[in-house]
Symmetry: C2
């Protein structure tokens, strides 16, 4: 089954087009995870905390959401031990039936872009000449700054290994327009020009619901631009950051969806993991109390987004 259909069917089953971000920030993770740690080596200790934290979050949300989105920066910052925690997290999330969107915003050209694509969503060559999966995420976020030639190796790996990418098209941050809103010689913005290129590629690889895992990142904070991009990339799935902590509300995400209630998954990271308990409470609380708050935040997000979608698109497919 096309990976996008797997994501869609999980979305329909959970009635939840959202994804929980796994951004393990050591400074914000509740204290009890740190006091319970067994490893003596400081980097191993961090990796242990990160994995135990993620495992609890996954156990709490896996029946409520279709997917999780580990943000690579929070793992990679601890080097190899952090990346090992990411690998364990990816494997555990998949074992619980979750789709894994790895947010790494990678970009490069030629054989270097191929190396990123192979490692994150494809297969890599071993010393005996065999090829095996390495990180093996289901989706990867990528950056188009080097031009569409830099994206092609990722598209090819998607089609070969039944994986997906979300290309940054219009990001949610305040300064995103600095480059992304500049008007190209075609009379459209850089974002829209990227959208055209994504759209052509998306046609190459679609699932049974008519969507493609060759998708785009489109921020919830620019709903008018999102509406334009939605039309331009009719088959591409959108990954939508900017909901919650960054200021986007449930109405703001509507233009990213189609009338079938599909076409996008909305991310929340800090809003689920850190924002719903006051810092002091979170640091002092017990596991059960903390995870109940994560569960409540996840359900609240589902109800908020599903409610807004159902109101806007009463004939949606779920």
């Amino acid at each position: 089954m096309n990976i996008i259909d797997i994501l869609i069917e999980k979305t329909i089953k959970t009635k939840n087009p959202t994804v929980v971000g796994l951004d393990p920030d050591i400074g914000k993770i509740p204290e009890f995870y740190k006091s319970e740690v067994k490893s003596q080596d400081p980097f191993e200790a961090v990796a242990e905390v990160i994995y135990n934290f993620n495992k609890d979050i996954i156990d709490t949300v896996f029946e409520l959401v279709p997917a999780v989105k580990p943000q690579m920066a929070f793992y990679e910052k601890y080097g190899s031990r952090g990346v090992a925690a990411l690998e364990k997290t990816v494997a555990y999330a998949k074992s619980k039936g979750l789709v894994v969107v790895e947010d790494a915003k990678r970009n490069d050209i030629g054989n270097t872009a191929e190396a990123y694509a192979d490692g994150h969503i494809g297969k890599v060559e071993m010393t005996d000449g065999s090829f095996v999966p390495a990180i093996d995420a289901d989706f990867l976020t990528i950056t188009p700054f080097l031009g569409s030639e830099s994206l092609r190796p990722f598209y090819n790996v998607c089609i070969k290994h039944n994986k997906g990418v979300f290309v940054l098209a219009k990001t949610s941050n305040i300064g995103s327009g600095e480059i992304q809103d500049v008007i190209t010689p075609k009379g459209i913005t850089v974002s829209q020009s990227i959208a055209q290129s994504i759209s052509t590629q998306a046609e190459r690889f679609c699932g049974q619901y008519g969507y493609s895992p060759i998708g785009a990142v489109v921020g919830a904070t620019y709903p008018e631009e999102a509406a334009v991009l939605r039309k331009m990339m009719s088959k591409s799935y959108f990954l939508v950051p900017g909901y919650g902590a960054q200021g986007g509300g449930a109405e703001d995400i509507l233009p990213c969806f189609n009338e079938d209630g599909l076409g996008a998954i909305v991310n929340s990271s800090r809003g689920i993991l850190y924002a719903h308990m006051r810092e002091e409470e979170r640091q002092k609380c017990y596991r059960e109390e903390y995870l109940q708050s994560v569960r409540r935040a996840t359900i609240y997000m589902r109800e908020n987004i599903y409610g807004a979608l159902k109101k806007e698109y009463p004939n949606m497919v779920y």
Copy 2:
């Protein structure tokens, strides 16, 4: 001493404004590295080959060049074991007195950008609240697609920890103009607009030669654009890809330099590691023969570039 002065003094001492790329590609590394491997685990075996290969390259070039540039994609593609090989490579290169430029083209916003900056060139928080270096490269390449706000956390870490960044301004690939050459409302290209923003930041942090480690990536393949960018970023050091395998010659890199013969370091990766022996010869050769060819290619590159610079700028400082 400012990290840029360390790079400059090594450049003057070796009479060599170049950097050897460490792009360990398992499919291209000579066969003897693979047949000598001791690890049973396939990913450990790859990491062992990568590190042994890099160690030999470093031992061969450390007295000839000021710096090496590991390309993160070739390590990260093997997940945590690959990143462990990178960490060992960075430490070994530094122990041999080399400056380490980590080519990772990272980009993100807010606390995620901070996480990248902290991990690659700063310090990271441990479970006991202390902060220690993780990957600890000297320089990191970063991508400006998310706007200048996304670059600020990296600049701040540079200044705090005496490190450097090379921001992608004009890349060497054929399709780089798709986004980078688009004209902004200011009447200049996206590349030039990025250059303006880098230049302002570079002023904040300069060494005794008048240069800043807040630098830019400017491709050798667009010498006319490089000349414009050189003027716009008078204090920023340039990392120059595109020489050799990508088609740029010694004359093409001249506009990236100033009359003092400083201001840039030129990278060659495949041209040093893989291009000077035919594929079949390289796979069958012995260590000594292979490393002699690496040494010859490194010296040839130095003579080629130093010769062109000396001819153009007879009063350069070395």
